[in-house]
Amino acid sequence: MIFHRIQQLLRKPNAATPQPVPLEGSPLASGLALHIGSHTVIACHDCDLLNRLPEGATTTLLCARCGAVLYQYKPNSIDRALALTLAALILFILSNCFPFLAMKSGGFIQETTLLTGIHELWKQELYGLAFLVLLTCVLVPLLQMLGLLYILAPLKLGLRPAVQAARVLRLVQEVAPWGMMEVFMMGILVALVKLGHMATIIPGISVFSFGALIFIMAAAFSNLDPALLWDRLDLRRYA
């Protein structure tokens, strides 16, 4: 997710392709449909300017006034996002089953998985901290993956959207800032170097599956096309 957003920040508009232009006058007066299936007029989420988007764009489109990303071209977004989410789920299960670090010092070998680390904080009565780590590294990513499967699978199979799928997508978007697996990975690396001075540290299977998981999740989210999903999930289409 984080890589995706850095990419968005750094991306420059391509001068050769048509860019969004500020809309003059009311979109209602100019007879533009604002509702179902319309991506032609978008209000910028960062500055509220009404932008008129060129039809069938195959590039990233930025707000004419503030430069926020308004539209990204994402071919086969449902297939790709679904495949990547399934892969992420498998890696997530692996990451939670195996230890990520083992420490060898004298005769002792101490292993830790993500969940035992959280349990250890809980035993030290740091309940808030334990919950925060559980939330940001386990619950939020799991919720995001299951949520995406729930939304994408029926669309892929050509069925009607799942019950309350729009609410699930809203939830997946709202919890996104609280999923911090990549930050946790950085924490593992720091701990690895830090403890390397006092004991032998053996990185476990989880370190590798977790590392891969972060990239796969980032790829899943960058292939997700929220505008398309919102449109497909709109129950008013089926009414």
Binding site: E24, D46, L50, T112, G117, Q124, L132, T136, V190
Partner: protein, 209 residues
């Protein structure tokens, strides 16, 4: 720049925060929920400035104990030693671990302070109806949203250390009280960035014209 350009608000349109559907204001009097995704509709994030200020002040208060109390308490052969964020950074600098020292310094000291200063700057600039480089200020806002999460690194390091280093009487590491305060700083600044509405930067300029 775009004098005749219109914003959704000027056209009487509400944009859903979650799914970006635009809805004419008059259609949703007394029933302010998005017909598509069910989110609560409002023209701007409610009480954005007040909420953001309150969260910023909370973070300023919490950041003091977070920096002066010990983050970890190490027990080696019965001797207890507390380490604050800064004493940890200094220790790693002295022992030559520049990578770790800089990661911890950037994530735990530089980023939280910068994020608070940026938010205060954005809040004040909106309150004084500044028309100074709104595009750059919007970019600064996107930056505050982006970097805040990296402050959690130290919390995760403490979690891992606590879980790994418990060799009975030889050595053990416990989380110190600063860990709780520091986590609270990260959470409150994240909520603060979330409650600030960057469209206010542009609104106050439009109102002046």
């Amino acid at each position: 720049m775009h004098k005749s350009a219109a914003t959704a608000r000027q056209m009487g349109l509400i944009t859903c925060h979650d799914c970006h559907l635009m809805i004419p204001e008059e259609q949703f009097q007394g029933h302010p929920h998005c017909p598509r995704c069910g989110a609560h509709l409002h023209q701007r994030k409610p009480n954005s400035l007040t909420r953001t200020w309150a969260l910023v002040w909370t973070a300023i208060i919490l950041i003091i104990p977070a920096n002066f109390l010990p983050m970890t308490i190490t027990t080696t052969l019965g001797a207890k030693q507390g380490d604050t964020i800064m004493s940890g950074v200094i220790y790693f600098m002295q022992t030559g671990s520049w990578e770790i020292a800089s990661v911890i310094f950037i994530a735990s000291i530089f980023v939280p302070f910068c994020k608070l200063l940026l938010l205060i700057f954005l809040l004040i600039s909106v309150q004084f109806k500044s028309s100074w480089r709104p595009k750059d200020r919007t970019a600064l806002y996107r930056l505050t949203e982006l970097v805040g999460r990296w402050s959690m690194v130290d919390i995760y390091v403490v979690t891992i250390l606590v879980a790994l280093v418990k060799l009975g009487a030889v050595a053990s590491i416990e989380a110190g009280p600063a860990a709780v305060y520091f986590a609270a700083v990260v959470v409150t600044t994240m909520f603060a960035a979330e409650s600030f509405d960057p469209r206010l930067i542009w609104d106050v300029i439009e109102e002046k014209i």
